[in-house]
Amino acid sequence: MNSENASVSLSNIKKCYGTVTAIENLSLEIPEGEIVTLLGPSGCGKTTTLRIIAGLEQATGGEIYIGQENVTHQSATYRNVAMVFQSYALFPHMNVLENVSYGLTVSSTPKKTRKEKAFRALEMVGLTGFENRLPSELSGGQQQRVAVARAVILEPDVLLFDEPLSNLDAKLRRHVREEIRQIQQSLGLSAVYVTHDQEEAMAVSDKIVVMKDGAIAQQGTPTELYEQPQSEFIADFIGDANIIPCEIESTSGNRAVVKVSSTTLDSYAAKHISKDMKLSIQPRNIRLTHTYTPNSLAGRVQHSTYLGGHMEYLINTDAGDIFVVDAEMNEKYQKGESIHAIFEATKTILVPVEQ
């Protein structure tokens, strides 16, 4: 089941809490040296999956391999994985050095090696000189870095991140996520990263696994997910797309001509075309004009918001309200104006209707 170069592979993992099924037949591979992100709305099972890899939860069914070893029944203590917790979980009664070297201390590593490695890890995260501070004497970003140093010091087969940025303020988040990415790459570690923030996922991942209701909805590179959503859910969750009901008139290859209310539009189908499809288009891929243009829907500006770098519009059309982001701002449209919303054909994607 597990391929040669996968550092972690899950096969048919199932997790039930009493009668509630949290994860249903999940199979997943984490390739060597890559960051794979588990992304999804809360309650989708992404954290449970991470905790199953960590050994903090036992799977109800299925098997887990780390490297070539079957670790399904091993507890967290004996798995060679490390984790960075959402709350950092730094031990408040130990100073930075004691925290970082804790893993080596409990495995009875000689004191000298312990200290050397801890200093190297602290240097890597840029916290040299902070050894004797208590966690409570550090800022949130510094605590985060201590947590990372503490996790990498054991040279784990795989590093797990459980929403590591959610306790940081917005500006720091961007900075820290780049640091995490950099450390992971320089050490060549495999990592699993859990988040509910799609922008964060895009920024750090080699591969994103989007989960919904305890199963994988779609996985792929950030580009694949963004540009070729295979379901209404992905289109909405990853691309914040407008989802518009439509009827398929004709198809040729992977192109289709669809009818939205009374207007005919060209569109591009991501996978294969079935009968019940909806049109998905991201707000940035719609242009607005005053004059009629082919491939456009007629509508009226219901609401316009000026946000400095771009404009946001809510357009009232026969097919429902659509949300448009205009970054060019060649022209500003006022509330109540009649306009045409042009759908760029190559960015207009058909997704199957969700049941």
Partner: protein, 730 residues
């Protein structure tokens, strides 16, 4: 798994080969048995089997040898684990079954009371079983956790459920020894217990009815007074708030008879108030205090602080923002209180009521001193045992009646109130302010609470004063003779503790200091299992460990005499039985304190430690224990103090050799030597205050040092450390 199992096999062999199987008369720790291992009394299992031809000892030996064999083979680990489970269960079952069944059939040394060998062997089998279970991942996560669960189950079963089952059996027993339900039903339902003739013009109600009436009255009274105190402490600008809080510490350091004795000094026939009333208004001196009134008054005094303590939390728990919301909607302060705050406190009030109800039912000291003709269940049980004819069967029946009432209240408290809490404290900072009380309510609280607080202080003052008076009411001259009699030290030939109380005082301190760490240990480990581990049957486990809270001390007392006066487990007359009784009576408090403290500790701390390769034992030692410091000290203080003030269970279990302070005081009270009893109580209070202050100082220093080091307080940590410090007031 192999390493752990090998260790337990080795320990098992130690138990089977070297240690005396039966209890030895000279005491295990004297090690005199080691000089004559081949005696029948001192022989280990293998010697019993070889030298004395007792064949029944071979199965455990064979099982242990088989285990050693299994561990040497290189078979599948899963199969090995299954075999360990089977062997462990068989061995443990066999040893227990035989300990009971062999009693009648054979001539056994020490009448068959088991000793060190049997004890060690049983635990070896138990841990083989749990080690196997740990590998199968059936219960906890590793061998340490399953072993811990196993140990606590065995201990609670042996020292809580086994004795209680003796009470049940005895209650169903006919005089000829056979069992039957008819006699039990007729006895437990008889008018002797449940009579209500006092309502219909007769003299006496049955003790069960008396207990019930008293408990309801006490529950209502303490809740009302407690609420009034709590409102003053949290919702007014009252100046002496801090002093009010001292009241909460009083009941735990008050020996059981103090309040009753002090009431006698005030209102008894020779009491101060009685005298004054007689002189000023020519009201005749009477014995009105003895009976329902006196007991009720003393229980209100004793248990109001407990209700106060519970209700402070409840009143503070109502989110200020809800009250502010109500005020912004143009409700006045009275409307806000009656429509918002009070309904939100309802579950807390019900909880305080049930607590007062249970405390009143279980109370033994006050009714004993002040009861007079007013019989309640707890004292009736005592008199059934120590009366002219010891009637254990009647004691058992009364015990069951009492147990039914307390356990019912306990169940109601858990089932009905367990999930019904409106306290709206969340992790988020709730920055609003509690609304003040409206003037009428405020003055109502002041006028009830302040006189009551003063009354309480007078009561305690009387005790100190009374201990220096030679003969209360008759000879009011100052004297130190009570202290001399009790705690005199003779310096004529070196130092000699000549006072009559020294013996029991030193025993009490010794037993309490031994029991306190054990109680704290068992309680906190149980809390750890309940909060941090998931295993099958956890809810039953929790219920079992908390149930001993609902068992009144008198019932514990008779159950221990019934169960441990006879082999196979013979403990009566030893100091050990006192320690064990304290451990399992006070354990639930340790459990609750531990649960509260652990819930404040972020679970990801444990997980982080596990992820870094620490075992759960290492995690417990290096991460959880250091962070639980204040909770550990609180548990220590509480169990130490409770061991000193406890009387109801103790009074059945003391012996000439191991007499305790409280039972010594009972003796003095029964002889009418109030002076010594009071002086002794004062010394006990001072001892406990000294112990508490000492331990509080330890906690306090810890806090200061931390705060100096912690400039910008860490969210998780600072909460964790403040909470249990409040808890030490418990």
């Amino acid at each position: 798994m192999n390493k752990t199992a090998t260790l337990w096999v080795a320990i098992g062999f130690l138990g089977l080969l070297f240690l005396p199987w039966y209890s030895v008369d000279t005491g295990f720790w004297s090690f005199q048995w080691a000089l004559a291992l081949n005696n029948l009394e001192n022989a280990s299992a293998i010697l019993q089997s070889v030298l004395y031809g007792r064949g029944w000892f071979s199965p455990p030996i064979i099982l242990m040898v088989t285990t050693a064999g299994i561990l040497c083979l290189r078979t599948n680990q899963d199969n090995k684990a299954k075999q360990l489970i089977v062997i462990g269960a068989l061995g443990l079952g066999y040893v227990i079954a035989h300990s009971f069944l062999s009693l009648e059939s054979e001539l056994l040394p020490s009448n068959g009371a088991v000793g060190a060998g049997a004890f060690v062997t049983s635990f070896a089998f138990l841990f083989l079983l749990t080690t196997g279970l740990a590998h199968m991942r059936q219960v906890g996560s590793d061998a340490f956790i399953t072993g811990l669960i196993g140990t606590i189950i065995v201990l609670v079963a042996t020292f809580v459920f086994f004795p209680i089952s003796h009470v049940l059996i005895r209650a169903f027993e006919y005089p000829d020894g056979s069992l039957g339900i008819v006699r039990f039903l007729s006895r437990i339902l008889s008018g002797d217990v449940w009579g209500i003739s006092c309502f219909t013009g007769g003299d006496h109600c049955g003790p069960a009815i008396n207990s019930l009436i008293l408990a309801v009255a006490t529950g209502i009274g303490t809740t009302a007074l407690g609420l009034s105190f709590a409102l003053i402490a949290t919702r007014t600008q009252f100046r002496a708030k801090k002093t009010l809080r001292i009241l909460t510490v009083l009941p735990i350091i008050t020996p059981p008879f103090v309040i009753g004795l002090s009431l006698i000094l005030l209102f008894g026939r020779a009491g101060v108030v009685t005298d004054w009333l007689n002189i000023l208004f020519e009201i005749e001196k009477s014995r009105w205090l003895y009976g329902f009134t006196g007991v009720y008054l003393s229980q209100l005094l004793s248990f109001t602080p407990i209700a106060f303590l519970v209700l402070i939390g409840v009143v503070e728990g109502v989110s200020p923002s809800m009250e502010e919301a109500s005020l912004t909607m143009r409700a006045n302060r009275w409307q806000t209180f009656s429509n918002v705050s009070l309904p939100l406190m309802k579950p807390g009030l019900a909880n305080a009521f049930l607590l007062g109800f249970i405390e009143s039912l279980a109370d033994f000291g006050n009714p004993l001193v002040l009861g007079g003709d007013f019989n309640v269940l707890s004292t009736e049980i005592y008199f059934a045992i120590v009366g002219a004819v010891a009637d254990t069967s009647r004691a058992a029946v009364l015990g069951i009646a009492l147990l039914t009432l307390t356990v019912a209240a306990f169940l109601i408290q858990r089932r009905w109130l367990g999930n019904k809490s409106y306290t709206s404290v969340t992790g988020k900072g709730d920055s609003g302010q509690h609304s003040g009380l409206n003037p009428a309510l405020k003055w109502a609280c002041y006028l009830t609470s302040i006189p009551w607080a003063i009354f309480t202080l007078i009561i305690y003052g009387m005790i100190v004063y009374g201990s220096f008076v030679s003969l209360w009411g008759y000879d009011n001259s100052f004297t130190l003779k009570h202290y001399q009699q009790a705690f005199g030290i003779d310096f004529r030939d070196g130092m000699f503790l000549s006072g009559s109380a020294w013996d029991s005082f030193l025993t009490t301190i010794k037993i309490a200091s031994l029991a306190a760490p054990l109680t704290a240990l068992v309680g906190l480990l149980t809390a750890y299992l309940l909060v941090r581990q998931n295993f099958k049957g956890k809810s039953v486990f929790e219920f079992g460990t908390m149930l001993s809270f609902a068992i009144p001390g008198t019932v514990v007392g008779i159950s221990y005499i019934l169960a441990f006066n006879v082999p196979p487990i013979e403990l009566t007359g030893t100091g050990l039985i006192l320690i064990i009784a304290f451990m399992f009576r006070n354990m639930p408090v340790g459990v609750r304190g531990g649960i509260a403290a652990l819930s404040q500790l972020d679970k990801s701390l444990d997980e982080a430690s596990l992820m870094l390769g620490a075992t759960s034992f290492t995690t417990l030692r290096r991460v959880i224990t250091p962070l639980m410091g204040p909770a550990i000290l609180a548990a220590l203080i509480y169990s130490f103090v409770r061991a000193i003030t406890s009387v109801s269970a103790v009074i059945f279990l003391v012996s000439a050799e191991h007499n305790m302070a409280t039972s010594f005081i009972v003796g003095r009270v029964e002889n009418g030597e109030f002076g010594i009893a009071i002086a002794y109580s004062v010394v006990l209070i001072l001892t406990m205050l000294a112990a508490i202050t000492f331990l509080q100082m330890l906690v306090g220093r810890r806090k200061l040092r931390r705060e100096n080091r912690v400039s910008d307080s860490n969210r998780i940590y600072s909460r964790e450390i403040e909470q249990p410090i409040k808890g030490t007031a418990l």
